[in-house]
């Protein structure tokens, strides 16, 4: 016998309902919202949050958190810009170097956390500050411009004249994320570690190694997102990527990835990112200023995490 209450419906389909309501509201308020070119625009805007979101999701799944992803992007942008504009490096080589470095930064985050048992939040906040500092040092606080023409295509080009390149990359990254979560043994291990670390360790899982892997993969996705951002902005600035970690965190938690680990789906990432993307886009169309947007984003983060924590409390009560 199944008894479906409003609560369970809200929990299961809540985010989809929010998404639809959001679309209806903006369609009513703005004549330019419901439009194909606006939709591709939204998708292109959210692609970076979605790509980094896959990485953050893996880390959250193991019970960790990476708050340094915004600064990883800043660092990557400035360094990549410097290498291309000042050192004349080939874009492909420069991008490869940056991605390798963000993977290493992720690994370093994981290593610090697993070696010292430091709270992930503190370790990655420290990393955030370190990377931002390095970015300022490389750039001397200035924006770096003057990239090869070919590099612009990555963030600004279209495939078949309609689908933006970043959207294609986003879809690719989401598929890889889905594959990791559902098909690979280490993806399953991430679930196990977030669900019950002690039991996972006693099951012969090398917990610390797996955590370092999660942070490293996160670095990979963040590196990709950063390069797209650089190409879109066509300028490497030490201000890029500020607060980006909060956008990513808000989106994935809103979608249903649990902040306390053990629960995550790629569909959650997609829906969470779309809600945030539509919200941001709608605000721009309605000429809502940047300051009220910050307030709204903060409120949304609180609501998303609050809802996650509440439903978790309820579950633990059920088990007890």
């Amino acid at each position: 016998m199944k008894n479906i209450s409003i609560g369970t419906i809200a929990k299961k389909y809540g985010v989809f309902i929010v998404f639809i309501i959001e679309i209806v509201i903006f369609t009513c308020l703005s004549p330019t919202f419901f439009d194909f070119s606006n939709f591709t625009n939204i998708l292109r805007q959210v692609s970076m949050i979605a790509i980094a979101g896959v990485g953050q999701t893996l880390v959250l799944l193991t019970g960790g958190i990476d708050l340094s992803i915004g600064s990883q992007i800043t660092f990557g942008n400035v360094l990549c810009a410097y290498m291309m504009a000042k050192m004349g490096l080939d874009p492909i080589l420069a991008c490869t170097v940056v991605i390798v470095l963000t993977i290493l930064i992720g690994y370093l985050n994981g290593a610090i956390i697993t070696k010292t048992n430091m709270p992930p939040m503190i370790a990655t906040i420290a990393m955030m500050s370190i990377l931002r500092g390095i970015a300022y040092m490389i750039s001397n606080g200035q924006s770096i411009i003057g990239f090869p023409e070919s590099f612009r295509g990555l963030g600004q080009g279209f495939v078949g004249g309609v689908i933006p390149v970043p959207v294609i990359i986003m879809v690719g990254c989401l598929i890889v994320g889905w594959f990791i979560l559902t098909k690979t043994y280490f993806g399953r291990y991430f679930f196990a570690i977030g669900g019950n670390e002690t039991a996972a360790e006693l099951s012969g899982i090398e917990v610390n190694r797996m955590k370092r892997l999660a942070y490293s993969i996160c670095g990979l996705f963040v590196g990709i997102a950063g390069i797209i951002m650089l190409s879109r902005l066509n300028s490497g600035s030490p201000l890029t990527g500020k607060d980006f970690e909060f956008d990513v965190l808000t989106a994935v938690v809103l979608g249903g990835v649990s902040i306390s680990g053990g629960r995550a789906k790629i569909s959650s990432v997609i829906i969470g990112v779309l809600i945030i993307g539509v919200l941001t886009n709608g605000f721009v169309l309605l000429n809502v200023g940047e300051y009220p947007q910050l307030v709204v984003k903060g409120v949304v983060l609180l609501l998303a995490v609050g809802f996650d924590c509440l439903s978790r409390n309820r579950e633990t009560q059920k088990i007890a």
């Binding site: 016998m1 690979t184 043994y185 002690t198 099951s203 899982i205």
Partner: protein
Amino acid sequence: MGEQVILEFKNITKRYPGTVALDDVTIDFRQGEVHALVGENGAGKSTLIKTCSGAVTPTSGEIIIDGKRFDKLSPALSQENGIAVIYQEFNLVNELSVAENVFLGCPIRKGVVPDMKRMEQETTKILKRFHMTMDPRSLVENLSIGYQQMVEITKAISKNAKILVMDEPTAPLTTAEVDILMGIIAQLKAEGVTIVYISHRLEEIFSISDRVSVLRDGQLIKTMNTAETNREELIKLMVGRELKETFPKRKENIYGEIVLEAKHLTGNGVKDISFHVRKGEILAFAGIMGAGRTELAQMIFGMARPESGEIIFKGEKVQPRSPAQAVDHGIALVPEDRKQQGAILELSVQDNITLAQLRRLSKLTVIDKQKEKSVAHEFRESLRIKTPTMTQEVNSLSGGNQQKVVLAKWLATEPDLIILDEPTRGIDVGAKHEIYMIMNELVENGKAIIMITSEMEELIGMADRMIVLCEGNMTAELTHEDFDKEKILHYASKTGGN
């Protein structure tokens, strides 16, 4: 024992979506009696207690406490009316002292500041009255589980509880601690406190209870005077069918070669321990809690490293540095705490079963789902795990089935040595029996088992041989012919070597 009824449940029903947890239960508790509640997991005992404590609101029926009628209780109302419940998980603040915990929420004050001195004095008074020896100023986190439980009891007494509900109080206790608890219960009873006593251990129920009520599938089956019933009848009422022997007989024991040998192992709280276990044999580690049994097992399983001594596994010297390495060698450990260490409750039955060998089921990091499925199904069949589907989350299964899932996880790795730490803790009679049968099958198939258990009957009924530990030392090695309760207890409390 007075005949006066102090607490009564009348036609209490509690419905949850999809299930009826309590089905028209009418039961009474008399002043100053020890009233045992028994039943398999899921019989409704927990719901009944929670109705008492105000955590659960009954769908219908009424609760009468000392003549006062209630449709439902709240935690505050329950306390006001003299009900105290001691759950399996204690409600203590680890960082506070014993006295502070006893008076938590209603401290004795001097003006606005808490009067620590008086609280300590009051606590000492109660402790003395019940012959408990404990410093009211020591921090709860430094106490053993047995003492923490005493703090809970003291807390209840300080609030003048008239009805004390205890949920599996002896499950985490050592034999010595159980004796102390029994003494406290006797004293409480003498002072006119009613004890509602929930336990899976029938032995205890016969030794301390006046009456016993059997619950099954949410219904009250029968309330009896304990003196007028016996073990067989109780089991029959609980499971609703006849169970033959508690400990199934094994076929003729044929021991094979030595699987594991430990030579002078020292470290992690144990000193100079040597033993071996052969194929087809169940070796038990006996002793009270804190004797070093679990600590010894941890060294074998790579959770702790020995300071000296060696481990020889299948003829080779090994030193596992992590559980992962131990698993690779072919050692498995089913930990004592199923929910915290054994199962991953949010993962499905299938994911749990295959977890420990998922890597081996994968090719180039990709899981072979077909193989995974067949492994999971194989063990679901062979261990008779009762679950509607393989995608069911483990936390929705009963304790016995959860334990079977954890066992399945380890058997799937095809280990040569299986260490079982308290394999039947907190699971019901029927499931216990099945776990014993599985253990028998395993040794018949040439596996070696090391069993750690605090239950004397299980120890004597299941082990082929045992080593007895006391305070980290090995005090005896007993073969089956020498098994004797008195003897084991003697060695378990004997310090120093032989």
